[in-house]
Symmetry: C2
Subunit: 396 residues, 2 copies
């Protein structure tokens, strides 16, 4: 049945993408100081002027990608806004010597917070790289490559510069987010310059192997945190599962498998990282994907464990549509349809654009804002763009 | 009407305290390594062996206070457990030179995490001081006084040793928790040795003045974070209200006012820190106190804003009963009765002891555990003990 709905999906997603991009273009640009406001209420009002670097950089990437990929967004104002965002980032975010990036800035660009992780830096790289592609400016590409070398050094060789304190009782562990991010930025760098594919083949192999370390319990569970040797960790953090995150890793791996022609990797990506997490992550009572679960069924330590967040549903839309497009197995399209229906009856704001981000377990909107510390112009438009492209290819 | 319920309140609270203390005595003692397990499921099973220092220290304090104040808990096993907990803390928690304390330890005592705040240190002081009183051992009292001098230095003179990085866009601000904690530890030190009251009178005045800086909007709102000069801060964190925290500050201030015979302070404590936060903090639709609110009505940044947490209800029980006992105004007893009824129909586990900690907005249990990173043997038994004592005095 869901096969007959492809045109309906395409139509709704296309107009949703228009509304969503319009939301950010209309409300988020800081024409005084540059960069973007990202704490924005449902109707576009700014409720906090702090600029969060992940979201600044993601918006630059998103605008540049939309400009490159979709004819109707190939407009000078989209490219100009991306360039202005990038200039703000270069000026205020990264230390010109160490390349460490802040996590949050004031609207004028003064530093508010720095994290002892690599994620601001990764999104900075994504922004510079994609803008390098669409603007043709070598300086952006060079900036992305310099950051790439830094990140590879921190992740695979020595993380001293990240500044995490090492304590006897908390030995280093493997967090799923890090190799996922590596897959993401390597793919970005290859999109920018395919001749670099060889240079990062070792890092790609490392990242895939690291992601696979998180598959436990005879392949039935993906755990967020494991030991460096892949062993299960004790306690709540060792038992933590984040279905949306696993499903996102699923399409990172499937995309890699398709690009590199790796059949077995594609199968594992779909079964282990999409189907299994979907099966344990979907709330059979109220619908929607849980945010966090404990693999042994204890109450998770995170108070927000049973909330329905927008981004797992965005990632799941990409994943299951990609799985369907790749395999033609209608089972995956049926799951896509279920996630689509849940999302369009719960998250989507048909009037004002963008999705609500946080629903309670039953599906009621819990936080009215469209943008905040962790939500900006990224997951929704990225998913809509990719799904539109896939659906277009399939309905041609 | 609620005046006729005093004996009912007393009886239910007394048996609840018995159940609660029994829960911790039965399930939390680590007889192998010392200290207490604090991540405990509803039925007493340990789901994580990490030992969180706030809770280790609070449990030592709680046991010592119960031993001192309540005849039926004056049992050797209570005192011994407190002493063993204190030994674990002294051995593993605090740096013998700097007196900085860790935030979390492995069950064997290896450091897992340190925070750049003063709270582990404050609870360490509370534990040592109260145990000094009941054991009569000078070494505990000395340890508390040494820590007191350190904390006063960090809070009022120089916080370099706390290690917080100062960034241009995030100037220092006043957080309500700090002067509240100061009121709490000064009261503790005075309980231990009343002759020290003069020594800390300047710190007391400072703490009261700091707490009052958080009263804004013509006295109608208590804000969590304000500028050092008392100005309102911009953005979500500047608009944040935590009704339970304000109400807790209320009884800290009322207790101080009663001890020091300060009539005007008592009135402000009740109206500004109890009644107003209760009025804006009580959920008129589903009952219970909200966790976080935005003074201007935006969605708070905290996903857990509309949850009903146990501790605000514990603090509110103490506050409104203390206000009633002090003023004899039945209006406050009516509010106490409302909080009591909500708590005993939502939070309390009549079978297994202790309260559930986290309900969703509608009042359903959201996290099944009785103890976790932030919840241990403290708020529930402290509130029950204090309410039992007040009710006993009133029903004699």
């Amino acid at each position: 049945m869901s096969e007959k709905r492809l045109s309906e999906f395409l139509e709704k997603i296309r107009s949703d993408l228009d509304r969503t991009v319009n939301f950010w273009v209309t409300h988020s640009h800081d024409t005084v100081h540059g960069g973007f406001f990202n704490c924005i209420d449902e109707d576009g009002k700014i409720y906090d002027e702090t600029k969060h670097v992940w979201l600044q950089a993601r918006q630059v990437w998103m605008y540049a990608r939309l400009y490159k990929e979709m004819k109707r967004f190939q407009k000078p104002e989209i490219l100009e806004a991306a360039i202005k965002g990038a200039e703000f980032l270069q000026k205020f975010t990264r230390n010109p010597e160490t390349y460490r990036c802040y996590f949050a800035l004031t609207k004028e660009g003064k530093p508010v917070k720095i994290q002892r992780t690599i994620f601001s830096e990764c999104f900075y790289l994504m922004a510079m790289s994609e803008l390098g592609i669409v603007s043709g400016k070598q300086s952006y590409k060079k900036e992305a490559l310099t950051m790439m070398d830094k990140i590879v050094h921190w992740v695979m060789e020595d993380d001293t510069e990240i500044g995490r304190q090492s304590l006897d009782g908390a030995p280093p562990h493997s967090s799923l987010a890090v190799p996922m991010m590596m897959l993401c930025i390597i793919s970005q760098i290859e999109t920018m310059d395919n001749s670099l594919s060889n240079k990062y083949s070792k890092a790609t192999d490392w990242a895939v192997a690291e992601v696979f370390k998180h598959v436990k319990r005879d392949g039935t569970a993906v755990l967020e945190n494991v030991g460096l040797n892949g062993s299960e960790l004790t306690g709540s953090s060792g038992r933590l599962m984040t279905p949306g995150h696993s499903i996102e890793a699923g399409w990172f791996l499937l995309d890699l498998a398709i690009r590199k022609n790796r059949t077995e990797l594609a199968e594992t990506a779909i079964q282990t990282f999409m189907i299994n997490p979907y099966n344990y992550g979907w709330d059979k009572q109220y619908g929607g994907l849980y945010y966090f679960l404990d693999v042994d069924g204890w109450s998770p330590a995170q108070l927000e464990w049973d909330l329905k967040l927008w981004w797992p549903h965005n990632e799941a839309m990409i994943s299951f549509l990609m799985a369907y497009k790749h395999t033609k197995n209608v089972k995956y399209l049926d799951i896509f349809a279920q996630i689509f229906d849940y999302s369009y009856s719960h998250f989507v704001d048909n009037e004002q654009g963008e999705w609500y981000g946080y629903l309670d377990r039953e599906g009621k909107v819990k936080i009215r804002s469209k943008g905040g510390v962790w939500k900006g112009c990224f997951h929704v438009p990225r998913a809509l763009m990719m799904c539109e492209q896939m659906l277009e290819a399939m309905t041609k």
